[in-house]
Amino acid sequence: MKKHIITLGIMLFCMVLFAQKPNAADIIREMSKNLVTENTKATTKMVVHSRRSSRTMEMLNYSSGKDKSFSEYLSPPREKGTKMLKLDNQLWIYDPTSDRTIQISGNMLKQSVMGSDLSYEDMTEDTDYAKDYNAEILEESKYDGREVWILKLSAKRNDVSYQMRKTYVDKERYIPLYEEWYAKNGKLLKTYKVSEVKKISGRWQPTKILFKDELKTGKGTEYIVVKMEIGIKIPEHIFSRASLRK
């Protein structure tokens, strides 16, 4: 009997120990679960703080999983009616002034989206941490008053845009609060800083993010989620090229 109690005690101790210290793979799996959403509709704002001024753009976004998304610019007037469609790894943009639909590919994917600190590549490549990266816990720390794991993520494949990331994951909400995105040669390319998090339809979602292209002289781009609905039904025609011209 005494033996059984000791064995049970050891097992319980191990369970507690493992429960407190999940491994890096578990952490990024949880993050992916939280961040990759099915059928989302969101109204967002993008505030681009360039070297000499700031501009605000408003968009309506639809997304289904990681492979389909559709965005329409609602303002300012010059950009109103511009639409973007992403299907798998392909991206099209529709310009109402010229009434042309152009596929963005090759080098153009590296270009900035609407003058922001985000590239088209950033938009097409919706990161699935668990699928794209191997993770390693560097340390446990505090960031912005919250307990975080600091992870080093190394890309599993060569075609991932950022070959290395350093990410500060909120221990309680499993979302990245701060990230550094690096090139293969170790050069810091971009940073990602979350300043607001909300629980939407049972999932923690970052709703205010500052993206900063570290190779540009501007002050970064704020991405603000004004309204978000998760798990709604989105008509399939939204994710078709015909919807660009509508």
Binding site: R52, S53, E79
Partner: protein
């Protein structure tokens, strides 16, 4: 003394014929090369001024820091009032706005889908029919097909670009670029003509559109990325332009404000100043090279002459002339020969240059493989500098040769003179 020397030189054919011939040809060649380099330099300045630098250019300080990158997002903004003031203050200049931009030229098929895409260098200029830009950029001469844009929404393509994308006159193409705020922008244009400038950098991928169209496309209604300034007499003068630029910058430019205007003379733009001073240096080193080479040739001739005139010099020393006097007379002879050679050399150099200028040198084939901004046909430019450089080279070489050969005089032993003369 001079009369004595002149008689001595011209009565003895050996003393003057070859030395004068050598000095004459070296002076002529030097003048020709100096004139050729000046011609090349001027052609380079003219083309650079016409297409990329102006005689001076006004940009923002931030734009000037990355001048070659043509960052039109760093353009001067809301300066309409100031611009009018600048025009009033510097009436000796003509002012033209231009926008240089990179874009992707997209050709649609019948369904509006992308058929071909090619990278192009966009140039937006004032193409009004009475605009001086048409003459300055020699657009009428550069036109290969069609006509210049006469209405909004029309565009000229370089011949090579048109060929690459198989565009015909009347075709619609889309230019895709970024506004000055970095937002993707697309605009449709009708191809109305093709051009060939003879400048490889432009011919490989240029498109030319009306300034207002591009301004609208790039969202630059209140912005000016580059203001080109030209002296009204069309000839670039570094001193005048530098004075104007210094005055402009002291009045309007503020080191603390990266978006304040800055006037850059043609010499101050990129590596142009150093390229031009390289040409100047090359002229100097070419002169030195010529002086040394011709000097050695004449030294050699002087030595041979010294052997031939061994007895003559011995008698002069024997009858009481000092070595210094004999040496000085040899130098005087060299000077006379140098002057005579220079006069003939100048005449021959002018003749070379004039004959060369009847056809010029066709550099079009060479230009195709380089990015040099020179005109396709090069001519020499004969200026006082070329003549002075050539003449000085001839004179110095002549004197140097004699000065070196003449040192043999000092090796003669007075005590041995009669013994030598007896033999």
């Amino acid at each position: 003394m001079l009369k004595f020397l002149l008689k001595g030189i011209f009565r003895d054919r050996h003393r003057w014929f070859f030395p004068i011939l050598i000095v004459m040809f070296s002076v002529a060649i030097m003048i020709f090369f100096s004139a050729f380099i000046s011609g090349f330099q001027l052609s380079y300045i003219r083309q650079s001024a016409r297409f990329s630098n102006g005689h001076a250019k006004v940009v923002s300080r931030a734009y000037a820091e990355v001048l070659d990158m043509k960052h039109y997002d760093l353009a001067l903004m809301d300066i309409e009032e100031e611009f009018e003031k600048w025009k009033m203050r510097y009436p000796q200049l003509e002012w033209f706005e231009r926008i240089n931009f990179g874009a992707l030229l997209d050709v649609p098929d019948e369904f509006g889908e992308t058929k071909t895409q090619v990278d192009v260098i966009g140039m937006a200029v004032d193409l009004d029919e009475d605009s001086a830009e048409i003459d300055r950029l020699q657009l009428t001469q550069a036109l290969r097909k069609g006509h210049l844009p006469q209405a909004r929404g029309q565009i000229l393509l370089s011949d090579l670009v048109a060929e690459k994308i198989e565009a015909d006159l009347g075709d619609s193409i889309t230019l895709m670029g970024s506004t000055m705020f970095g937002v993707m922008t697309l605009r449709n244009f009708e191809v109305v003509g093709t051009v060939e400038f003879g400048i490889p950098a432009l011919d490989r991928g240029a498109v030319l559109a009306e300034l207002e169209d591009v301004r609208e496309m790039l969202d630059m209604q209140d912005a000016k990325s580059e203001i080109f300034c030209y002296l009204k007499d069309e000839e670039y003068d570094l001193k005048t332009v530098t004075q104007i630029a210094n005055d402009f910058n002291s009045r309007y430019s503020d080191e603390e404000d990266e978006f304040s205007p800055l006037m850059l003379s043609l010499h101050d733009q990129g590596s142009l100043g150093s390229i031009l001073s390289l040409y100047d240096h090359s002229q100097f080193w070419m002169s030195i090279g010529f002086i040394v080479i011709i000097g050695i040739v004449l030294w050699n001739m002087g030595l041979l002459n010294g052997i031939r005139r061994y007895s003559e010099n011995g008698i002069r020393l024997a009858i009481g002339e000092s070595k210094g006097q004999v040496y000085a007379s040899l130098l005087m002879e060299a000077l006379i020969i140098g002057i005579a050679g220079c006069v003939l050399g100048i005449a021959l150099g002018i003749l070379f240059c004039n004959s060369f200028n009847k056809v010029g040198m066709d550099l079009s084939l060479y230009n195709k493989s380089t990015n040099m901004m020179s005109e396709n046909v090069l001519y020499t430019v004969l200026n006082p500098r070329a003549i002075i450089t050539g003449s000085l080279t001839g004179l110095f070489a002549s004197i140097l040769g004699s000065a070196l050969a003449g040192t043999a005089i000092y090796k003669r032993q007075i005590s041995q003179l009669f013994k030598e003369l007896e033999t």
